[in-house]
Amino acid sequence: MKKLRVRNKRIDDDLLMKKRREELDRWPTGKEVDFDEAVAYQKSLPDSKIWWKVMAKLREEGRMSVFPRAGTPILEDMIELCQSLRESGVVLIPVTTDSYTRAGQYEKVEDILKECYRTGKPLLNGYPIINYGVKKTRKLVESIDAAFSPRGAGGEIGIASGLTTFNAGIGFLGFGSYSKNMTIQQLVEHSQNGMRIVGWYADRGVILCTDLHGWLPSAPFPLSVNIVCQIIEAVTAAEQGQKALYPLVPCMGNMVQDLAWIRLTPRLIREYLDKFGYQDAMITGTCPAQTPLFPVAMDLGGAFAYLTYVSMVGALSKSNAVDLRSIDEGAGIPSKDTNTISYRAAKWIFDVVREQKIEIDVKDIDTEERVTEIEVRAILDRIIELGDGDIVDGTIKAVESGVLDSPWSPNVNVKDEVLGVRDARGACRYLEFGNLPIPEEIKEFHREKVAEREKLEGRKTDYHTAVKDLWSLSKGKIVGIPPYDK
């Protein structure tokens, strides 16, 4: 076997500094960033604001925090929103940015922001961090005793403001879920040959944590592709100098699979980080993430149950954080109050269940873990083979050939030849394997499981089954008995 490696064209230091400035110069607030001052400010932050330290402390003490989503355009409201989260026990706070900011349309944002203040209404679907700039965002950060993480945008304005996570490595989220025309080649160029900001800060003693998303499964779909991508994200991030990262493990609603994946994902990430020589990159914890479609707006009971179910999975798996939405997820951006009540519920579960130190052993976890592990290794082996030892080259070829593939992508450059459905117990199975290099015996396993459901429901599964399964958790009916359209 070829020596494992990550294609590494480390950008020249002068060029790096120039590019960083260019990026910041796209909007006047960029001037507020002085790199050295930013380092000093980061170093002045108390431990309770430093993401990786907060995660580590939670883990040490056997505690948990919700990692929610929250962003609203009016600064004062944003502060109040985050304060209320903190009061519900949340110590990992997001700064979810609006979609225009994510698209770099700062001028448009500026106009709308004025309109927001004029009308008092939150017209943007997030906090426009770039337009606010460093001084104002520091006000937000300094108002609440918790760690902050930018979502979707922020760049060095976020870092200078005291947010303590930062993307690193090849991020599949943007490519797989947010882009229409980006090619995998472009993604790699963008994230690898681009700026190695995380490493620059690490060299100066500032560790900015990275959350790994992998390729988000947009529908009930086995997690192997997601985990493969998390591993790719991890090793490419580490290669850029990232020292702290953790996986967000999508929970698809089948408890056996969810628990198996929560166990498997960090284990494999650790293994590959080590294999590639990044023993010094630490995994700060594991964060199960509530993923599939939520119960509809009017079904508050279902929304609560779903939320506490995922909290429970987090507690039973002894995770230190859980990525949870609110009971208003199906309705729209949550209010302060719906956040509070949602995360109080989660905290109740965390405190009551997590602290009972329950040791559970769920039958079939081993099987699910083994099946997914074989799939992950098969896909990764193929990628490394395609890349002739280089995981980045391999990734490019893998996406182009469908060796890496995921359903429902908005991206026209994705093969989209795979499909998932639930089996008779609600576990996610492949219905169409596309070009994924899954070993034949494992394919057979999936087919058998799907056949069980077909027998139960008395009809074939197909594309329409896959569509219907989008709603299985949403409608509170994870399995096929009785056919939930009856």
């Binding site: 609006d98 979609s99 225009y100 994510r102 698209a103 349309q105 448009k108 709308i112 939150p122 017209l123 943007l124 679907n125 879920s177 947010y178 229409k180 947009s218 529908a219 509809v296 707006a297 208003d328 199906g330 309705a331 729209g332 951006i333 949550p334 209010s335 719906t338 429902w408 992508s409 908005p410 026209v412 594309y463 569509v467 989008l470």
Partner: protein, 142 residues
């Protein structure tokens, strides 16, 4: 029998929520329509120019991310200028930010030129059967 009506689909503005419009497109196709699926993040201008090119009978627009009104500023004027006044305009999804009462939001989108405005999680099959076919027939396009 007339030739199948042409329907354009897609999410407007910067909205990346593509699953809904994919399902809408497929369901329309299965129902025998001629579908032009533009996918996600379609600008208002693109909707208009494609409608002109394809001589479309309707647009079924999607927006989930809450900023549809901002995206659609001036859209109605432009489509009128483009001579598309007779084309059906539907929109569905999470149309504003936060939990809302669809009854309050509907008139705002009607003003933006939409013939029908749907609340979150609307069943598309029902819409095709009870609204779209009726409206197209009323316009003599089916």
């Amino acid at each position: 029998m007339k030739k199948a009506a042409t329907i354009i689909t897609g999410t407007v503005g910067m909205d990346a929520h593509v699953i809904g419009t994919k399902i809408v497109s497929r369901t329309l196709k299965d129902a025998g329509f001629n579908v032009v699926a533009l996918g996600m993040q379609v600008s208002p201008e693109e909707f208009i120019s494609v409608a002109q090119e394809t001589n479309a009978d309707a647009i079924l627009m999607t927006s989930l991310y809450g900023m549809a009104e901002l995206d659609l500023k001036g859209f109605n004027e432009k489509r009128m200028e483009a001579g598309l006044g007779d084309m059906l305009l539907y929109i569905g999804g999470n149309l504003v930010i936060g939990r809302y009462d669809p009854k309050e939001v509907e008139p705002r989108f009607k003003k933006l030129g939409f013939d029908r405005v749907y609340p979150p999680e609307t069943d598309i099959v029902t819409v095709i059967e009870s609204d779209l076919k009726k409206d197209l027939k009323a316009k003599g396009k089916m």
